[in-house]
């Protein structure tokens, strides 16, 4: 049975200027352990969709089911990771990791132990009693991920969770996060505006159309690798064709915008695609 199923979700915002239909009709489902990427033109309603799945926003029509139950209100099965790490400076790293458990009133000794184990496993144990400001950007984002995983979510939602990081850090953090998510066997849905990232991380890329959004395509991603990692994916021959495919699909909606961002990155297959490939070719 699907862990997450989104059925005919529609969302219209009422504003003083009138109605904005953000999501037209969104349907898809995810099995346990799936990792989907979600791409779409900016402003098409990706964040809106995640908020609806998390239950912090209610859909105008349609419904979301998590583990067979219809979501109505903040859903305890879901962990949500935002663009900023939003670590609280007056708490130590460990106390930050326990924040979600405190909020959900699940701060038992077992859960504390689990949180400590997560810190240990992902190389943060020695920083557990430090303040967030003493950590690097990449480490902070890892702490934010562990804070989210500490509440044992069945589904992890990531909303452009790495876009605040600089490029180098970002590559390293996606590598870490991918490993953590796979190891913990969490079902993950990741919004990104970075096409290479969507290909490297996802088992499937959901391509949304411009507003009002529908799922335009579900593109399965397969690499001929014995053990997949985001960095290795970038050097695979399939990478380029996936990139061009998504690029074309999105290009129909935001040719202008993507072209601008790609010029900055050095072309569709230069920049982000080619750089790590040169370093990590087996």
């Amino acid at each position: 049975m699907a862990v997450l199923s989104v059925e005919g979700v529609r969302k219209a915002y009422q504003t003083p200027q009138g109605e904005t239909v953000a999501l037209q009709n969104i349907s898809f489902s995810m099995e346990k352990g799936d990792f989907y990427s979600l791409v779409g033109p900016s402003g098409c309603g990706k964040s809106t969709l995640l908020s609806i799945i998390a239950g912090t926003l209610s859909p105008t029509a349609g419904r979301v089911q998590v583990a067979g139950e219809t979501v109505s209100g903040p859903c305890p099965h879901i962990g949500y990771m935002l663009q900023q790490d939003n670590l609280l400076e007056w708490r130590t790293v460990r106390q930050n990791v326990l924040f979600g458990l405190e909020i959900r009133r699940r701060l038992t000794p077992q859960m504390k132990e689990r949180a400590d184990r997560l810190l240990e496993t992902y190389g943060l144990a020695e920083f557990a009693d430090r303040r967030p400001s003493q950590l690097s950007g990449g480490m902070r984002q890892r702490v934010a991920l562990i804070r989210t995983l500490a509440v044992e979510p069945d589904i992890l939602l990531l909303d452009e969770a790495f876009s605040a990081l600089d490029y180098q850090t970002r590559l390293a953090v996606t590598e870490d996060v991918y490993r953590i998510i796979r190891q913990e066997q969490v079902t993950a849905l990741m919004v990104t505006h970075d096409i290479p990232e969507s290909i490297c991380m996802g088992d499937k890329v959901l391509i949304l159309s411009g507003r009002p959004a529908v799922v335009r395509e579900e593109l399965p991603i397969r690499f001929d690798l014995s053990e997949r990692s985001p960095l290795l994916c970038r050097s695979c021959p399939e990478f380029g064709s996936y990139f061009n495919h998504i690029w074309k699909e999105l290009g129909m909606y935001e040719a202008h915008e993507s072209a601008r961002s790609l010029c900055e990155e050095g072309g569709p297959l230069g920049g982000e695609g080619a750089l790590p490939a040169a370093e990590s070719t087996p």
């Binding site: 903040p74 935002l82 939003n86 609280l88 400076e89 007056w90 924040f99």
Partner: protein, 260 residues
């Protein structure tokens, strides 16, 4: 290393100059009064002020200081507590906040000392009126300052808390309040001074005891030595009160740093 040493030497010079200025000022005052360049009956004289302290007797002076400090602390603590509670109420209910906004603005710009006679009639001509005065003077500022601090809480931190399904109460206790500990201390630092203003104004009006009473009394019987002595003690008391709040901020507030 060189830089550090230079820095230390400079701050030593600053301290020397400060004390030097005070000593020069007192000396000039003493000499000018002694040689009758100024009328020591009106301007008093350091040696006469010292003699006044000695003749006032320890008990008497101590009593007046205790009265003023006690009233100030009472007004300060009540004003801070009531101010923070009201700010919480206004943060909690945007409706109440919108309704009360014009009243707060008017009350904030009204010189609270003008309410003195009203307060005395309501609270009686005694300690209660004086404490009330101190409270009135610091209350509205606290409310406005804390409320704007609460509202400026990092929206990212609030969103993060909501992703875990935090209730409004949890958001307040675990995000908004700790985030605003620095705001609270900033407001306390201003309030301790304001409360003292309220207490002195109250003592001027009610005139039973306290440093404000000594100043008014000294003025009425034309004993400028007493007035000056009281003003100097008041300055010391004000500085000590402010420093204790600053110290508390250092001890408690350091942990909270700049919330972000």
């Amino acid at each position: 290393m060189h830089y550090l040493r230079q820095n230390r030497r400079r701050s030593l010079t600053v301290r020397l100059c400060r004390w030097g200025f005070l000593a020069a000022f007192l000396l000039a005052w003493e000499v000018a009064a002694e040689w009758e360049w100024i009328d020591s009956f009106i301007f008093s004289q350091p040696s006469r002020i010292v003699r006044t302290y000695l003749s006032m007797g320890q008990n008497d002076l101590g009593y007046h200081i205790r009265v003023t400090v006690g009233e100030t602390l009472a007004g300060f603590l009540l004003g801070a507590a009531a101010g923070v509670l009201l700010a919480i109420l206004l943060w909690w209910s945007p409706f109440v906040a919108r309704v009360s906004e014009p009243y707060l603005v008017v009350l904030n710009s009204l010189p609270k000392i003008a309410l003195g006679p009203v307060i005395i009639i309501l609270a009686g001509a005694g300690t209660r009126a004086i404490v009330f005065m101190a409270l009135a003077i610091s209350l509205v500022v606290t409310v406005l300052e804390m409320l704007s601090g609460f509202r400026d809480t990092d929206p990212g931190a609030l969103r993060m808390a909501r992703t875990f399904g935090a209730t409004k109460g949890q958001i307040f206790r675990k995000v908004v309040l700790p985030y605003n500990i620095p705001t609270l201390f900033d407001s306390l630092k201003v309030n301790i001074g304001l409360s003292l203003v309220g207490v002195i104004a109250g003592e001027f009006l009610v005139s039973r005891a306290g440093l404000g009473y000594l100043i008014v009394y000294g003025g009425q019987v034309f004993r400028m030595d007493l007035v000056m002595a009281s003003v100097i003690i008041l300055a010391v008391v004000a500085a000590l009160l402010y420093e204790s709040v600053a110290l508390a901020q250092k001890l408690i507030g350091k942990r909270f740093g700049q919330g972000s």
